[in-house]
C-alpha cells in the first residue's frame, strides 16, 4: 500500500480572510468560502504539477451554510429582495465550488456538515480507493455571532486545510497565516463513536 503523507497544512482566521487579497472576486464570497479558499491558498500547493481531475476536495463545515442563510433571510424584506449573490452561498458546499474554480480542480468532492465529521478519513478513503491521487481536506468552523445566539455555541471563524497525497516531502513548516493549530487537531482527530 502506498504511503500517504500530509504534504501541507494551514490554519487561517477571520482576520486573515479580511486582510487577504486573492483577486477581484474574493471580496464577493461569503465568509465561509473566503476562509476555506484562503486556507487552501495558504497550503502553497502547486496545482500545476498535478492532474487536476485527480485531486479531490473534502470539506467539513461545522454549521454548513447557516451563517449565510441567516444573512440571506435577514435581507428578505429589503427593497428588491435579498441579495442574489448571497443566495449563491446558501449551500454548504459552495466553498468547494470556489476552491475548484480558483484552482481548476475537476476531481470528486465531498461536503460533510456537523462536528466530528471524519473528513480526514473520507479523504484518505478517496485516495485509497484510487479515485484521486491527492486530496484537499478542509475544515471550516464558522459560527457568526448571530448564529451563536441561535444555536448556543461560542462564535468562531477559522478554517484549516490539509493536503494529502500518496507520496511527498512531508509536512511543510507552518507559515504566517497558520495562527492556530487547534483547528488542525479537529481535522486530525478521528470522529468520536456514538455512545
Amino acid at each position: 500500500m502506498d504511503k500517504l503523507v500530509v504534504a501541507a497544512a494551514s490554519v487561517v482566521s477571520e482576520a486573515d480572510a479580511r486582510a487577504a487579497r486573492l483577486g477581484t472576486r474574493f471580496g464577493r464570497l461569503d465568509l465561509s468560502s473566503r476562509l476555506a479558499l484562503l486556507a487552501v491558498e495558504a497550503l502553497g500547493v502547486d496545482f500545476d504539477a498535478l492532474p487536476r481531475d485527480r485531486v479531490g476536495i473534502c470539506l467539513a463545515t461545522r454549521a454548513g451554510s447557516l451563517p449565510t442563510d441567516i444573512d440571506y433571510w435577514n435581507g428578505r424584506d429589503a427593497p428588491g429582495g435579498p441579495s442574489p449573490t448571497l443566495f449563491a452561498y446558501t449551500l454548504p458546499s459552495a466553498a468547494i465550488g470556489e476552491i475548484a474554480i480558483r484552482h481548476r480542480l475537476t476531481g470528486p468532492s465531498l461536503c460533510l456538515v456537523g462536528e466530528n465529521t471524519g473528513a480526514l478519513a473520507e479523504a484518505v478513503l478517496l485516495i485509497r480507493r484510487g479515485e484521486v491521487e491527492a486530496c484537499l481536506c478542509v475544515e471550516c468552523n464558522l459560527v457568526t455571532p448571530a448564529l451563536a445566539r441561535m444555536i448556543q455555541l461560542p462564535p468562531a471563524a477559522r478554517a484549516c486545510a490539509l493536503f494529502l497525497q500518496r507520496s511527498g516531502d512531508g509536512l511543510r513548516a507552518l507559515r504566517e497565516n497558520d495562527r492556530d493549530v487547534e483547528s488542525l487537531c479537529v481535522l486530525l482527530c478521528p470522529p468520536k463513536s456514538a455512545t
Binding site: T24, F26, G27, R28, A78, G80, P84
Partner: protein, 85 residues
Amino acid sequence: MNPLVNELKAKIVALFKLEDVSPDQIDDNAPLFGAGLELDSIDALELVVMLERDYGIVIKDIEEGRPAFQSVRTLAEFIRARGSS
C-alpha cells in the same frame, strides 16, 4: 464629470466589493461583464436589485435591462430615461 456616472461607479465598487479597484479606475464605456470587472450573471441580478432599491426602477424582464448593463454610461442613461435621477 457626470455625477450619476460617478455615483454608479462608487456603488459598483461597494456592491461587488471590488478589491484593488477604485471608482475612478472604471472606464465609462468599459463592458461591465466578462473582461474588465469580471461581473457575471449573478452580479447582473445584483444590479437589478440595486436599481430597485436605490432608484426605484423595477426590471421584470432581464432582456429589458440587457442594453442598460453594457457599461456604466449606458446604465446611467437608462436610469435617466426612467426619470429616476
